[in-house]
C-alpha cells in the first residue's frame, strides 16, 4: 500500500515539474529577450548535463563510443548515430573489459 502511495505522490510531483515551468512563465505578459535567449538554451544546457558527468567514470571504450556517435551525428540522423555508438561500445567492451 505504501509503495502505491509513494508511486502516486511521485507521479503528482513529476507532473508538477512538467507543467510548472509553463504555469510560472505564462503569468508574464511579455517575455524579455534575455529570458527568450535563456529558454532557447534549455535543450543544449539540460541535455548536456545528462552526458558530461558520465565522462568521469568512462574508460577508453566509452569515450571512443561517444566520439564515434558524435561524429556520425554531424552527418546522419539519430538512429545511425545511436547504433554506431552502441555497436562501438559493445564491440570495444569485449576487448577492453
Amino acid at each position: 500500500m505504501t509503495t502505491i502511495l509513494i508511486i502516486l505522490a511521485g507521479a503528482v510531483l513529476t507532473y508538477l515539474t512538467r507543467i510548472g515551468g509553463h504555469l510560472v512563465l505564462s503569468r508574464f505578459e511579455n517575455i524579455p529577450p534575455r529570458v527568450e535567449a535563456a529558454l532557447d538554451a534549455v535543450p543544449a544546457a539540460v541535455l548536456t548535463t545528462l552526458v558530461a558527468p558520465e565522462l568521469l567514470s568512462a574508460g577508453p571504450a566509452e569515450i571512443i563510443a561517444l566520439l564515434a556517435a558524435g561524429l556520425v551525428a554531424l552527418k546522419r540522423g539519430m538512429l545511425e548515430m545511436f547504433l554506431t555508438g552502441a555497436i562501438t561500445l559493445i564491440v570495444l567492451r569485449q576487448f577492453m573489459g
Binding site: T2, T3, I4, I6, I7, A9, G10, A11, L13, T14, Y15, T17, R18, I19, G20, G21, H22, L25, S26, N30, I31, P33, R34, E36, A37, A38, L39, D40, A41, V42, P43, A44, A45, V46, L47, T48, T49, L50, V51, A52, P53, E54, L55, E62, A65, L66, G70, A73, L74, M78, L79, M81, F82, L83, G85, A86, L89, I90, R93, Q94
Partner: protein
C-alpha cells in the same frame, strides 16, 4: 486542421518515435527487471511507468524502495531527479499556448526528455509544433515504455550481463545525440561547454541529481548574459508575433 490531416500528423509523430524507442528499449527492460529484483511486483512496476513516465527517476525510486528509507524521502528523490522538466516546461510551453487547456494538460504529462527535444526540433523546422504530431509521438513512447517495463519485469532474469551489452552506457550516447541535434542554435558550443563543466563539477562536489539543475543553470545563465542581437531571424519574427496585442 482537417481530421484527415490530423490523423496523418499523428502517425507521422508515431513514426518519428522509432529511433527513440530503439534507444530506450534496453532501459525499459532493465527497469522492469531491476524493479522485480528489488522486490516490487510487476503490477507496481507497470503502475510506476504509467504514472510517473520518467526512467531516471523510476530507477532511483526502485533503488530506494529496496532500502529502509522514509517514504517522503523517496518521493522527494523522484521529484529532485525530475526537476529538470521545469525548464523543459517553461521553454516548450510557449509553443503550446494556442492549444486548448485540456490538450496542453495532456501534452505536459507526456513531456519526457526525448519528447521535449523532438518538439523543440519541430519548432526549429516549422516555427511551431502541432498537437496531433506531438500526441502521436508521446503516446507511442508512453505505451512502449509501459510494455517494456512489463516485459522486463516478467522476463528480465534472462538478461544475464547487462554491462557486456553496454546497457549502462547507452543512455549517455543517446543524450549526446539529442545535444547534437541543436548544434545550429546560437551559442550552442559555449552553452554546451558551460553546462558540461558545471555539471561535472557539481556531480563531484554537490552530488546527483543536483548536477543536472546546477549544470543546466550555468549554460542558461551564459545564454542570458550574452547580447540578444545574436538571435536568429526566426526567433525575431516569433518574438514580434508574440508581442502583438
Amino acid at each position: 486542421m482537417s481530421e484527415e490531416n490530423a490523423k496523418r500528423e499523428f502517425w507521422r509523430g508515431a513514426r518519428s518515435s522509432v529511433p527513440i524507442i530503439v534507444a530506450v528499449i534496453p532501459f525499459g527492460l532493465l527497469f522492469g527487471a531491476l524493479a522485480v529484483d528489488n522486490g516490487i511486483s510487476p503490477g507496481k512496476a507497470v503502475l510506476m511507468s504509467a504514472a510517473i513516465f520518467g526512467g531516471a527517476s523510476q530507477m532511483v525510486g526502485i533503488e530506494l524502495f529496496g532500502q529502509k528509507i522514509s517514504p517522503l524521502l523517496i518521493v522527494f528523490s523522484i521529484f529532485a531527479v525530475n526537476f529538470r522538466h521545469v525548464l523543459y516546461s517553461a521553454a516548450i510551453g510557449r509553443h503550446f499556448a494556442r492549444w486548448p487547456a485540456a490538450k496542453q494538460a495532456v501534452a505536459f504529462f507526456l513531456l519526457t526528455d526525448p519528447q521535449y527535444a523532438e518538439a523543440e526540433r519541430k519548432v526549429e523546422e516549422n516555427g511551431k509544433v502541432g498537437f496531433a504530431w506531438y500526441l502521436g509521438m508521446g503516446l507511442a513512447l508512453y505505451f512502449t515504455w509501459i510494455a517494456e517495463t512489463l516485459l522486463g519485469a516478467l522476463f528480465g532474469r534472462l538478461i544475464r550481463n547487462p554491462e557486456a551489452l553496454g546497457i549502462d552506457f547507452l543512455l549517455p550516447i543517446y543524450f549526446l545525440g539529442l545535444v547534437m541535434e541543436f548544434r545550429k542554435r546560437p551559442l550552442w558550443l559555449p552553452v554546451v561547454l558551460a553546462s558540461a563543466i558545471a555539471s561535472t563539477l557539481a556531480y563531484k562536489f554537490v552530488g546527483s541529481p543536483w548536477h543536472v539543475s546546477l549544470g543546466a543553470l550555468a549554460g542558461i545563465a551564459l545564454a542570458a548574459s550574452m547580447p540578444a542581437k545574436r538571435q536568429s531571424a526566426r526567433d525575431l519574427a516569433m518574438t514580434a508575433e508574440r508581442s502583438e496585442p
